[in-house]
C-alpha cells in the first residue's frame, strides 16, 4: 500500500478549504431582514438552473468557487421550490378527491379545464421541456443570469408595524395642524379678498360657489373616517407568534 495521499482526496480537501474560506457566516433562521443580501432567495431562474450540466460545474468549480457555490445554492433552492410545488399539487389533488366534482358528478376535475388539455399531467410532462425554454432562464450558450434583486425581504411585519406606529404617532398632531392650517388659509384668503378691489359678478355666477361646496362633505367624512381608523389602534400585527 502506498502512503501517498490520494489525489482525489487532496482535491476534495482543497475544495472544502476553499468553500469554508469563502463562507461568510452561518445561515440565519430568523428575520429575513437580517440575512446578508446574497443569501436572500427567490430565484426565477430555478428550473433553468437545474438543467445546468453537472460535469461543467465540476470542471469550473476550482476556477471560480464562489460562482459555483451560488449555483449550488440556487439549484438547492430550486429543488426546494419544486418539492413544495409538488406538495401544493398533492394538496390540490387531495382536496379534489375528497369532494367529488359537482359539475359532472363523476369525481373528475377536468370539466372546467382550460382549452388545449393542459392538465396537471400535461404540465408535469412538459416540465422538463419548459425548463429548457424558460424565457427568463439561461440558455446553454449564455453566461449565467444576473440574480434578481432581493426585494421581498423588505416586506416584513416589523417594517409594517413601524410604519403604522409612525402614522399613529403623528395622528393627533396631524389633526391639530390640519385644522389650524385650514383656519389660517381661510383667514388669509378672506383678508386678500377684502383688501383687493373686486368687481361684481353677474347673478348667474353667484350659484357657482355651490359647486365648490359639493365635495366638502366627502372631505369631512374622509377626515373623520381616517382618524377614526387610526384612533381605534388595531392595525398592528403581533411580531412573533
Amino acid at each position: 500500500m502506498s502512503s501517498e495521499p490520494d489525489p482525489v482526496l487532496l482535491e476534495l480537501e482543497r475544495i472544502d478549504e476553499a468553500v469554508r474560506a469563502r463562507r461568510p457566516q452561518p445561515l440565519h433562521e430568523g428575520n429575513p431582514d437580517d440575512l446578508p443580501r446574497t443569501e436572500r432567495p427567490s430565484d426565477p431562474f430555478g428550473p433553468g438552473a437545474l438543467m445546468e450540466p453537472e460535469v461543467e460545474q465540476s470542471h469550473t468549480f476550482l476556477a471560480a468557487p464562489p460562482i459555483d457555490l451560488d449555483r449550488t445554492v440556487r439549484a438547492l433552492d430550486s429543488i426546494t421550490s419544486r418539492l413544495e410545488g409538488l406538495g401544493l399539487r398533492l394538496e390540490a389533488s387531495e382536496a379534489s378527491i375528497a369532494r367529488p366534482n359537482r359539475g359532472t358528478g363523476d369525481g373528475t376535475t377536468g370539466s372546467l379545464a382550460e382549452p388545449g388539455g393542459s392538465s396537471s399531467v400535461d404540465a408535469a410532462r412538459t416540465a422538463e421541456v419548459v425548463a429548457v425554454s424558460h424565457p427568463y432562464g439561461p440558455s446553454r450558450s449564455e453566461s449565467p443570469p444576473v440574480p434578481p434583486a432581493p426585494v421581498y425581504a423588505a416586506y416584513t411585519v416589523r417594517r409594517y408595524n413601524e410604519t403604522i406606529d409612525a402614522l399613529k404617532d403623528r395622528h393627533a398632531g396631524l389633526v391639530i395642524v390640519s385644522l389650524l392650517l385650514s383656519a389660517l388659509i381661510a383667514i388669509l384668503l378672506v383678508e386678500i379678498v377684502l383688501r383687493s378691489p373686486a368687481t361684481s359678478p353677474p347673478v348667474w355666477i353667484a350659484v357657482l360657489p355651490l359647486v365648490w361646496v359639493v365635495p366638502l362633505p366627502f372631505f369631512l367624512l374622509s377626515f373623520r373616517g381616517t382618524h377614526r381608523v387610526l384612533d381605534r389602534n388595531h392595525l398592528n400585527l403581533p411580531e412573533t407568534k
Binding site: H134, P135, L189, V190
Partner: protein, 446 residues
Amino acid sequence: MIFQVTAIGTNPRALETTVESVRYWIRRTPGFRHRALVWLVVEPEGYATAPSLYEAWRASGIEVWIVPTGYRTPLGTRGKARALQYACDLRSARGLDGPEVWVYHQDEETCVGEDTLRGIAEFIERRRELLGAGIILYPLDWMPIPSHVQEFTRSYDDLRVLDSLTMPGNPTAGFHGSHFVVRADVEGAVGWDAEGYCPAEDLLFEIRVRARFGSVFGILKGFAYEKGAFTLRDQLRQRRRWIRGITYAVRTSRVLSSRRRLTISYSAISWYSALPSAVVLVASAVLHYGSLLLFTSFFSGFVWISMAAGYIEGARLHRSYMDRPPGALRLFAYGLVGALVDVLAPWYGLVTGTHLTDFIRKDPIPYRVTTAAPTVPRPTPTVTPAIGPDRSFPATVCRGCGGSLSRAERRFYAVAGTDVEEPKCRNCLGHQEWVRFAPHARPVPG
C-alpha cells in the same frame, strides 16, 4: 387558502414578481399555517404572451387556469368579471367553495409580504367577518413621476376606505378589487356575473355582498404592494375605468338600495365637481369676483390641507419601502400634475368610452414574443439617446441589431439602477447582449 391572481396576463414580469412573492412568504411566514394554493387565472392572449413561462409555473405547482374563449356566464359578462366568475365555477367544481376555504384576491402586480400573510392568517383565525380589505402601497418599480406620486394619496385614502367599508352602508363608497380576502362560499353565493362589460366589478361585488350578507366587512391588517401607472395616459385611462364602473353600478345594480345608490352617486358627483371647483376658484381670482372668493375661502383651506395631507402622509407610508423618496418640491410639483389628471379623468370618461383593453401596462419593459428573430440586422438608429454617459445612465444599444431602448425603458433603468435584469432587445430577441457605449462610439451592428 387560495391566493388567486386574476389578470389578462399580458404583463408576465409583474406576474412573476407577484407569484414569487407569494411562494416566498408562504414558506417563510411564521404563524401562517394554512394550506395554500396559488391560482393564476389568465386570458388566452395573456397565456400566449409567454406560454413557456406559464408552463414553468404550472410545473412548479402553480395552478394556471386559462379562461376558455367560449366560456359564457348566464348574464354574459365580459372582462375581468368573466375571469373571476370562471374561477368561482372552478372552485365550485373542485369542491373548494366551502366555508373552510378563503380566497385572497390579487391583481397581477399585487405582491405580498410577511405582514400580508400574517394579516390574512389573523383575519381568518379571528372568524368575525366574512370579507377583509386592507391598505395597498405602491412601492414596486417606483419612479419619480407624477402618476406614481399620485398613488401616495390612494394609500392614505385607504384609511378612509377601511373606515367606510366597515360602517353600515359604506357611506363614502370605498373598495378595491385586490388585497382582499373573502370566504369562498360568500364569493360563490354572490358571484361576479353582470350584464355585459362591468368596468368596476369590485364595486359591484361589494354592493352585492353587502346587500346579501349585511355589514360583514373587516380590516385586513398588513399591506399589499403594487405599482402605479407608468404614464399619465395610463393613469387617465385607469381612472376613467373607475368612474365608468361607478356609473355602471349605479345604473344597473338591482340590489342597490336607494340610500346606497345616493351615497355612491354622491361620491361620483364629488369627483366630477373637482374640475368645476378649480375653474370657479381660478375664475373668481382672475376676474376679481371677490364675493365668490370670499365664499369659497372658508372651505378652501380645509380642502387643500386634506389633499396635501394625502400626499405627505402617503409618501411617509411609503418611505421605508422606497430607495429614493421624493423631495418636498418634487412631491408638490408632481402631485399637482397627478391631481390634474385625476380631476380631468371623470370628464374624460364622459366623452370617451371604456374598453376591455383599459387595463394598463404593469411591466415597465414590454414583454414581447416574436416567432423568429429577424435575419437581417436593422441599421443603426440615427437618433441620439436622450440619456448619455454624462447623465445617470449610458446609452444602451443591442450588439446584434443596434436597436436602442425606448425612452420609458431608459428612464426605468436609470431609476432602477443595475439591480434589475437586463432587458431583451425588442428588435431581435435572439441577441440578449446589451452594450453600453457613449452615443458617439456606437458599434456597427453585425
